[in-house]
Amino acid sequence: MNSVEEKIWNYIDGNCSPDEQQAMDILIATDDVYKRKYHELSKLNIEFSCMMELDEPSMGFGYKVMETIRTENAMKPLKATIDKRIIKGIAAFFVVSIVTLLVFALINVSWTNTNSTNTLLSGQDIKIPQLGNYLNGTVLKVFILFDIVLALFLADGYLRKKLNNRQTQ
């Protein structure tokens, strides 16, 4: 701190150490320059804190801000608004399914049979479901129907996109 003014502002703001404050008290009481400056700056300080006014924004300011926030929220992409718990739930379902299948497969493996080294590879002790039992006429019909619906759905999407592009051009 160099100038008298700096010292006095520091004193007015209460940023002085106790020793500095004591020294300033004496200076203000005894030195005319300090005394005059102190009174001048104190008055100015009161003026600054009392006379400064805050401006008021327009009446609809708050409403405008909230509208912007609402619009932004509405424009958020779907993937950002999907609850993360749903995604975690789906992930948990798949993890549990995979673990269950793995455990089931490991339980069905005969670990004690040491007679043949090829047992595991030959698949003698692993029960593989016979797919032929499930592939009957009804299953095939359902499968073909599903394929047709999927093809129609994709074709519809493709044609709509094409139509939109033509309209925008």
Partner: protein, 193 residues
Amino acid sequence: MQSKYTDTELITRSLAGDQAAYADLIRRHQRFVFTLALRFAKTREDAEEIAQDCFVKAYRSLQSFNGEAKFSTWLYSIVYTTAMTFLRKKRLDTSSIDDENTYLQIENKPGGFDGDLAEQKSRSYYLNKAIEQLLPDDAMVITLFYKGEQSLEEIGQAMGIEPNNVKVKLFRARQRLKERLELTLKHEVNELI
């Protein structure tokens, strides 16, 4: 009407999806944020744009507010960065204390009916007029210190500078404001004569 809840309570409610709580927060801080924005923008339209942007930004990053500092300090730091970006973008001609040709675009006409009130309004008018002619940084330091109830440390946080630098800035800003005030009032006296 001011909300009975504290800033922290309103923030918690806003984070839980209560938009009315955030509207209360805006109502509570809008005058100060707008005044700070006006220190940079100089026109009411631009200041409103900055202030609006600040509240939207604050809402977006409300989750990152950890409560270590006051909400107002955190909000003023957003005001400062937004206003600085705005100034850089628009390349506004900011009024300098050394620029004698500065003019005011804001009309804050003093009003009042009785003598005391008129005098008080007039003093307030000239003080605000002098502040508007300061450099944006100086005007911000002065406003935060006198009206924002912010300590030197908090002003430093809001402006991204050390408290010691804030002290120096504040001292210089006061000096310039004093000079500007003397100059403005001198012109006023000349006009009266």
